[in-house]
Symmetry: C2
Subunit: 304 residues, 2 copies
């Protein structure tokens, strides 16, 4: 299977702490890097965790609160000054372009490097990016300002050829691509060999869902159902559920309950309020409901 992982660059909420930067993550699939959110200091974390800034070509921004975007201008400058070529694609609320253009108006022009902004749809689920290996959808969350979650899904893998059968039937190389795609095989004599006799099942398709900042929303269950890994914010413990509701955030217990109802395989909680010196109580609270819960810590890598 191709390496597929999520690295936490920042796990704090609005106020960074001495050990937690504001929100940012890198999703890596087969050496392609996708950045989600970009709080202040994201470029510092990328350097610290030895992730190549130059390999990031796509950035997904959940919403326009400062702790999710204030690292963008510095990261973009560093990419440009570092000689990055081509296009950097940013998927966000349409206002971001104007905010960044204004802030960077005194930056030098770079002929070979360009930032391309793609406006997100905050009303319904939508495919926002696709390449040969992955499909990325956005879907609406519910926060004080428009906010999206993202789901990263591998594309269907090819079936594995059964070497013994392929050899025995002496199937030409040109026909094997179609068989890996699910086709039956017709011998020169006209006999049909069904696909399942020629192949082993494909590797399972893996998926990762990212949900912050939001109230706990049951409406997203059909979207995140059965994902291998769910990152969900848990800004507060359940004692502060009133505050969570008021500020449009989620408690650790609520996140765990959602993970259970959506039958996800593993839950990461993060976006912790800076009031928690230790996040163990939040993890404990979540594990009562959903045992396979882990806290996001800056630098942690989760392999799918």
């Amino acid at each position: 299977m191709l390496p597929f992982s999520v690295t936490i660059l920042g796990s704090s909420s609005a106020l960074p702490t001495s050990t937690r930067f504001p929100t940012s993550q890198v999703v890596s699939l087969n050496e392609r890097l996708y950045l989600i959110d970009c709080g202040e200091g994201t470029q510092i974390q990328l350097r610290k965790f030895r992730i190549k800034t130059s390999k990031i070509n796509h950035i997904f921004i959940s919403h326009l609160h400062g702790d999710h975007i204030f690292g963008l201008p510095g990261l973009i400058s560093t990419m440009a000054l570092g000689g990055k070529k081509g296009e950097l694609h940013i998927y966000s609320h349409s206002e971001l372009k104007m905010m960044m253009d204004n802030l960077m108006k005194f930056m030098n022009e770079f002929d070979d490097f360009k930032v391309v902004y793609h406006p997100l749809n905050f009303r319904s689920r939508a495919v926002i990016y696709e390449d040969s290996k992955i499909v990325i959808d956005s879907f609406p969350l519910k926060h004080r300002i428009p906010c999206c979650g993202f789901i990263f899904k591998e594309k269907l893998h090819e079936l594995h050829l059964r070497g013994d059968r392929i050899d025995y039937l002496n199937i030409p190389i040109r026909d094997r691509v179609a068989i890996k795609g699910g086709a039956d095989y017709q011998t020169p004599e006209g006999a049909i060999i069904p696909n399942h006799e020629l192949t082993f099942p494909a590797d399972p398709v893996r998926s990762y869902a990212f949900c912050t900042d939001t109230v706990c929303r049951k409406q997203i269950i059909p979207i995140i159902e059965n994902v291998d890994l769910l990152y969900h914010e848990a800004t507060f413990s359940d004692e502060l559920s009133d505050l969570a509701l008021k500020t449009y955030h989620t408690t650790a217990r609520q996140a765990a309950r959602l993970a259970g109802e959506a039958a996800v395989k593993k839950l990461i909680i993060g976006h912790f309020s800076s009031r928690y010196k230790s996040v163990k109580p939040l993890v404990d609270e979540a594990r009562v409901v959903f045992p396979n819960t882990f806290p996001a810590n800056d630098g942690d890598r989760f392999d799918l």
Copy 2:
């Protein structure tokens, strides 16, 4: 003498490195903190070096390149969320307000905390701030975009009373304030005692000049002459003097020569290009011309 110091928060130029953040410094005089420039991660450095963000009420921004301002939105947010009250004064090019307002339009409103922007004058020297202890002037530098240097000067100190003479003449407390300010004393019998018989000289008045980003400018010598401490950028070594000129920066040798001609007491060089893994060659180059040169390193504190 009141404690007067400069703490380096960032000493890199546009590209931060693993040990150097972009430009920012804190000047501290008698527990009052003045921030100069605010590159990305300034709030992180303030926390790391245990400097109280809440005590900063005045920020001076030399120019609007990203490596001098990208830490501002995060710092302002953190101040607001941390419950800072009153006014934060920012002295900068007039465009900064619009840039920040745009970027922070989705931030919550805070009733008791307000940012007040003061436009700088980029044509001539001007007093921009004054309180009971200090006067701060801006003066024009020469960079690719409008840029100012800053000079922090203590106000004249009071003269020290000569306890022996004061006691002998039995001078009432109410007259001593005027004597500390330089007045002579008239005895009840009408005799005039000249001030110099009643006082020792005041503590010397200390001063700090901050100059980045700029070509080396002899025109500023009358302004920075005799300062106790000069911070001057030295982005490049003298081998790259052509590049320095082209990008409107200064070499280490040029900064040292300027320090010598201005007869400053001590020189700090900084704003180092990220190409220098060690800045020792730049310090050595400067010391040939001006021996009392020191490199700026993140976390260094220089006492005046």
